[in-house]
Symmetry: C2
Subunit: 468 residues, 2 copies
């Protein structure tokens, strides 16, 4: 076998696969129905998510809540009767928001002949990693720009000493909202660098969401390349519209902002890991996972409590239905996806150093919405093999398996061999809640969550049985 | 042409269609992209829905609000500059809920050696069409049954004088929630008839929704075949679980219910109609519609404010993009879908009596969720022709055009010729809000609504251009 060309191997695989599917399709159809019945009728993904959201809540890396989440999910895994459950110790960065931010603008109001100055509050949320303002706050005139490119085209005279306000709308046209997100996430991640280069005193950005509401959305940013660190925050889309309107009437208005955040030395945290040993190829692993940390507002329900509980549910369903996997199945709940990726990096390092063979890794980190697709980082022949699974999953809402991005946490495992897979549910509502106080359990629909767990479990079953 | 066999006609159609699609596909792709860009960037479906939900609110047939909804949507149509806008006068039944319902159970509680009776409120919502209780209310022992069949198997001795409580859970297993709904809607529609036959004093049903929450869900019921009219109400799923638990501990507990509803003589109302005259076949109509009335709680947002504004938006997009239809396009906002279907029946009667030729009718009445499918009531050859449109709509989330139910309001147009089409978005969340106070604008996602309007407009465009 070792001497066969890749093409011959692929052909052999296809023949074998075809024969298997003809024989096995009926059994697979029945088993997949059982998986969904169990996920929908006796599913544990919802009660597990309820515990994570309501008993722990948000859980930024290094926070006491993040360690509570480690304990909770470790216990959830222990109760499944897996072959092993353990913690991988890692170091994570620590960033703290501190006391609640304050922000306002001073607006001139005319009543008859009398001119008054009124203070209007602006809802601010520091970007993750930002420094604080001076304890007395920062007050400065505002320069509104439409994009990072627009900012770069400004002169130092225009920018210096100002608070730059990047008011870029997410593009409404792409049907997949992640496409719009990628198109404007630069304002959040590196807008502060460009503002600093031109001497700005601070940065505020319009939150990265389509809807107009009053929740500011935070997220990671970098100072890399910035000559000076300046404070940076997001404001809600509603406030961005309001501020922009006020600036049209009154170009010299001032904005006050006070951020109280700080960075502390790295601290100890953990990836949470559990596994079922494979019956035929115990040394080859199929990994399923999501990330355990979240931003420090809301409850991290869609991002990524959902991915955590769906991943645990995959292993629970294997156990509950008595499905013995051929390969070892491993669930990894990664710490620190949001502001450092230390969990994903440490896990991949450990796996490489110990010669652990991963055949595939599936990540759920795009919310708990109704199933649509799986995305796969691989060459066409492998993609086509996996697409043969689609008819088995169509009755449950899956419409396609396509080329695309797997996931952030599993990315460091990329080695040219492993199949990296991303679970891709309906995307319309994801950015309504992303990194905001509105990302709470109540915004997750139980059935949509459970269908996601079902479709992930079915895919892992089919991968285990037919792909390697 | 008239002498050609159906088969030859069909073949000719297919050849013509194939030739057209090859030539036109590129143009169609561009035009459909324009339709979605306009729906997503400058769409009016959301502001129109906001007005219907927040300025009018719920709008049961015969209520003052239902006439406000007629005025509002007529004005919305007038502003589009259509070729004509008019009202079709109809008669509708009038049922009024009256003062808010009251309900409680008397529960024994033991504190040490002392036994106390505590009153626990039960959230009741009269079923549409129910009679009132006596002004002093109805108090009786409760008989819990699991289904209508379970009820039918009981003896008169068991049922007589009791309040029957049908505690049937919606089946969680079907992926399409409408399948579960059809499987248990009988408890609401005709449960009261079976309870009356066995001498029950009243009926309460578990609300028809998957989620456990505190909103009771109303809906239509009938007394046809009942020897005596008895009062009937829905209770929330949370209260159904609570009541069932209490009944296990205390089989003789009594439930008090007070309903204040009444039926009044029929009154005048209207279907709201607007149209764009066709350039080639002005006497052949393509109809798009939803229903204007709603139940008298919440805001009738998903049911069926969404269908109303999406249908108006179809005609708006034709006008805004300068698409001149070959056939006449007509939007019909039907009155009285919920408790009489008088609008749908009157429209079909009028059309038949006046020899109006409808080639197709498309209804949106399954909520404002992300696009999935269209369902079509027709024979396979026509279905296959329409399935050729799917690749053009897949980039916008449409996954299939299948055989299935068109819609309640367009049903009376069924004549063996007309194509009846239903817009079928993702179904998981629909029954969370259906006929309950939770059916409000805030539970509609703007992008999901707009994508629905886009995919409906695109289908109407393709039908107009290629199908007849």
């Amino acid at each position: 076998m070792n001497k066969l060309s890749a093409k011959a191997k692929s052909l052999l695989f296809m023949l074998l696969f075809t024969a298997l599917t003809v024989k096995a399709q009926h059994n697979d159809t029945l088993l997949i129905r059982q998986i969904f019945d169990s996920a929908l009728v006796n599913g544990q993904s919802w009660p597990m998510l309820e515990q994570l959201c309501k008993k722990v809540g948000h859980r930024l890396s290094g926070s006491p809540q993040s360690l509570e989440a480690v304990r909770l999910t470790r216990n959830q895994l222990l109760r499944l009767g897996l072959d092993s459950v353990w913690l991988q110790e890692i170091k994570v960065p620590v960033w703290q928001r501190g006391a609640r931010e304050q922000g306002w603008i001073n607006v001139d109001k005319r009543k008859g002949d009398i001119q008054q100055q009124n203070r209007s509050d602006i809802r601010l949320l520091a970007l993750g990693g930002s420094i604080a303002t001076d304890p007395s706050g920062l007050e400065a005139r505002v320069l509104e720009v439409k994009s990072v490119d627009d900012l770069k085209s400004r002169t130092r005279e225009e920018v210096e000493g100002r608070i730059v306000f990047i008011n870029q709308r997410m593009d409404a046209r792409p049907v997949n909202t992640f496409e719009s997100y990628i198109g404007c996430v630069g304002i959040r991640y590196s807008g502060v660098v460009e503002a600093s280069k031109l001497g700005a005193a601070g940065l505020i950005i319009r939150s990265l969401t389509h809807i107009i509401d009053t929740f500011p959305h935070t997220g990671a940013m970098t100072y890399e390349g910035a000559p000076r660190q300046i404070p940076a925050a997001a404001i809600s889309t509603y406030d961005a519209e309001f501020l922009s309107k006020q600036l049209r009437d009154q170009t010299n208005l001032t904005l006050f902002m006070k951020l109280n955040c700080r960075s502390l030395p790295d601290t100890v945290s953990y990836n949470v890991i559990g596994e079922i040993r494979g019956s035929e190829k115990p040394d080859e692993f199929l990994l399923v996972g999501g990330h355990l940390d979240s931003w420090d507002v809301g409850e991290g329900a869609h991002d990524d409590g959902v991915g955590v509980v769906q991943s645990i549910e995959v292993l629970r369903l294997f156990k509950a239905l008595g499905i013995r996997p051929r390969h070892s199945l491993r669930v990894v709940l990664f710490m620190n996806e949001e502001n450092g990726l230390r969990g994903g990096l440490a896990y991949a390092d450990w796996a490489r150093n110990n010669g652990i063979v991963h055949k595939a890794a599936l990540e759920s980190d795009r919310g708990g919405f109704a199933p649509r697709e799986f995305h796969l980082e691989t060459e066409p022949p492998v993609l086509e093999k996996l697409q043969a699974f689609v008819p088995l999953l169509e009755p449950y809402g899956l419409t396609a398996i396509r080329n695309g991005f797997g996931g952030v946490d599993i990315g460091p495992l990329r080695d040219g061999q492993i199949l990296l897979l991303g679970y891709v549910p309906e995307s319309q509502r994801y950015f309504d809640y992303h990194h905001a106080a509105s990302d709470v359990l109540e915004e997750v629909n139980r059935r949509e969550l459970e269908l996601g767990a079902g479709v992930m479990t079915s895919l892992v079953y089919l991968l285990d049985r037919y792909t390697f």
